[in-house]
């Protein structure tokens, strides 16, 4: 088939349009870095932002350096990586299930992962449950916890994928399936709690709130080691997700192995969810908030939606965690409470407005 290949004004207008999207991503990155510095500076001891930058860039020693490197930085990085991971997991789930209400939380995958992690910690001895709220659960075998969380998340994912193939896989139905799965796995976690002591129950409940403050450097390293390669895989498949957005038949007629892309997308999204939940507890709605905010601003094109969700997810969790530390200071709220405060109204808005992916 012969096509006139003379590039012209449309291509140059399009190049300008793409520049706008790249600018948006660059602005998000700058905002994220600035917020990270602010977030490191606030807390029970306030460290001036200039000193934060000097400590991070020039490695200036001192008391502030100890606080920054040992306490604040792992927390901030955990918030960034977990927020980014949950947001891209939500974005990919929305794409591969072609359902705008999908996210690790609304589909019950977070709850499943939470149950798996609770099994590993309380029954398989992968962690220690103590009565100290500040250090309620210590994960001693992160690999076993992650594997158990992943297995449980995969059971939920398998159920979702099986139901998504049926004719009744309307968005509402999928969310109802998510409600059922969340109820089922929450019941499982409650069952474990029933056989625990009162102190252990309090500790497990506190642990499931979702809190990035409990992340240590090794936790951050493992989170990053999972989230970044998954992000790279998602970016490699960005055109495949765009094709899936156009419908399965269109995607397959464009040469995309739709089922393979769908299953790997769900597997990796569940893996991210499992790892985040294992270390930080259940943090809801980031997977909805991040992608939908970016969609409103720059559209559905996965080439920009994925990196945009990555950055905006990191920003949302970082801002939430910073607010959680300062709104009721000296009390530090679990960040999961704040994300639910932001996310639940958005979820209602999407339902009332008539969702559109």
């Amino acid at each position: 088939m012969h096509i006139d290949l003379q590039a012209g004004p449309v291509a140059s207008r399009y190049a300008g349009y793409l520049r706008g999207k790249r600018l948006f991503l660059a602005a998000c990155l700058v905002v994220l870095l600035a917020l990270a510095c602010v977030s490191i500076s606030v807390g029970s001891v306030t460290i001036p932002v200039a000193e934060v930058v000097a400590t991070l860039v020039a490695g200036r020693p001192g008391d502030a350096s100890t606080i920054i490197w040992n306490i604040r930085l792992p927390r901030v990085l955990a918030a960034c990586v977990a927020g980014a991971g949950l947001a891209i997991a939500g974005g990919v789930m929305q794409s591969v299930l072609r359902n705008p209400l999908s996210s690790p939380y609304t589909l019950g995958i977070s709850h499943a992962a939470g149950f798996g992690a609770a099994v590993a910690i309380s029954l398989l001895g992968a962690g220690t449950v103590s009565a100290h709220i500040a250090d309620s659960v210590v994960v001693r075998n992160p690999y076993l916890v992650t594997i158990c969380a992943f297995v449980a998340a995969m059971v939920a994912t398998g159920a979702l994928l099986a139901i998504s193939r049926t004719r009744s896989s309307q968005p509402e139905v999928m969310i109802l399936v998510g409600v059922a799965l969340a109820a089922l796995f929450t019941a499982g976690t409650t069952f474990l709690q029933y056989f625990s002591s009162a102190d252990q129950v309090a500790a497990i409940v506190f642990w499931t709130f979702g809190d990035v403050g409990r992340a240590s450097w090794p936790d951050v390293a493992l989170l990053t080691a999972v989230v970044l390669p998954c992000m790279a895989w998602f970016l490699l498949n960005r055109w495949n997700y765009n094709a899936l957005d156009a419908g399965d038949d269109t995607a397959r007629s464009l040469g995309v192995h739709a089922e393979r892309v769908r299953v790997t997308g769900m597997l990796l999204s569940s893996l991210i969810t499992a790892v985040v939940v294992s270390f930080l507890g259940i943090i809801g709605f980031i997977g909805l908030l991040g992608p939908h905010m970016v969609r409103r601003l720059i559209g559905d094109d996965q080439r920009f939606l994925l990196p945009g969700s990555f950055l905006v997810g990191a920003i949302i969790l970082l801002v939430s965690d910073t607010l959680a530390r300062i709104v009721l200071a000296p009390i530090v709220l679990p960040v999961g409470i704040l994300t639910a405060f932001f996310g639940a109204p958005l979820f209602l808005y999407l339902i009332v407005r008539g969702y559109r992916r």
Binding site: I3, N240, A246, G247, T250, L254, D300
Partner: protein, 251 residues
């Protein structure tokens, strides 16, 4: 022959859909696949590019077995436009550029951009290039879907009732476009249709299906009052108007 369809059959456990369907397609040929609802037209189209795996028979694209080709290989030879196209929150340019997926490496090449621009110009969509598809009318969305199929640079276009939900003006525009693409670019087009008069006006050959099999196939001469009555179970007369046959229901 460009495409040889030989004894293709397809069925679900509860009932057969296609039985022993055989025909051939030449380049620069516009074939209309006609028949009542549920007769297997869409199933046939989906068997040709292996969206469905036929239970029997073969589909050969210039002696290559289509069912043995990989998805990207098929996508470089055949493009498919489904009946309903989901309007996406993407610009027209991006949505059409997506059609280059089977040719793309890691990223979009300058050729991908040039082909996309060429097709947008060809379909008079240049002015709408940066509009969001979900803000467009049904006719424009369908044109975007056809543009996406054309940037695949296919040799065979498979179109599943692309005009079924459009008004007369948009139907004529889409059909004229397909006919021109077939004539100008050496492409073969197979289109399932319900409007017999538009089919007679634009297509070169006709396949009339009944009960999952081909009832009649050939040029305009096969679309007679008798074959239409046999296929649709509706009495009609076929009259001449402006040099074209026109089907008039006798009710």
């Amino acid at each position: 022959m460009m495409l040889e369809v030989d004894g293709v059959g397809f069925g679900y456990p509860s009932h057969p859909v296609l039985e022993e369907v055989s025909f051939s397609v030449r380049s620069e040929e516009f074939i209309a696949i006609l028949g009542p609802n549920g007769v297997g037209k869409t199933t046939l189209l989906r068997c040709l590019n292996a969206l469905l795996r036929p239970g029997a028979g073969s589909v050969l694209l210039e002696d290559r077995d289509v069912l043995a080709m990989s998805r990207p290989e098929i996508a470089r030879e055949m493009a498919y436009v489904s009946q309903r196209n989901q309007p996406m929150r993407m610009t027209v340019f991006d949505s059409v550029l997506l059609g280059r997926r089977p040719h793309m490496g890691f990223d979009v090449s300058s050729r991908d951009l040039a082909v996309t621009e060429g097709i947008l110009r060809r379909l008079n969509l240049s002015d709408l290039a940066l509009r969001y598809v979900d803000e467009m009318s049904g006719g424009e969305v369908q044109k975007v879907a056809i543009a996406r199929a054309l940037v695949q640079e296919p040799r065979i276009l498979l179109l599943d009732e692309p005009t079924s939900s459009l008004d007369l003006k948009n139907q004529l525009e889409i059909l004229t476009l397909v006919r021109d693409v077939v004539r100008d670019h050496g492409v073969a087009a197979l289109m399932t249709m319900h409007d017999l008069n538009l089919a007679l006006r634009f297509a070169d050959r006709f396949i009339l299906m009944k009960g999952g099999a081909i009832h009649a196939a050939g040029g305009r001469e096969v679309v007679t009052a008798e074959t239409i009555r046999n296929v649709y179970d509706v009495p009609v007369t076929v009259e001449q108007c402006c040099g074209f046959p026109v089907v008039v229901p006798c009710v």
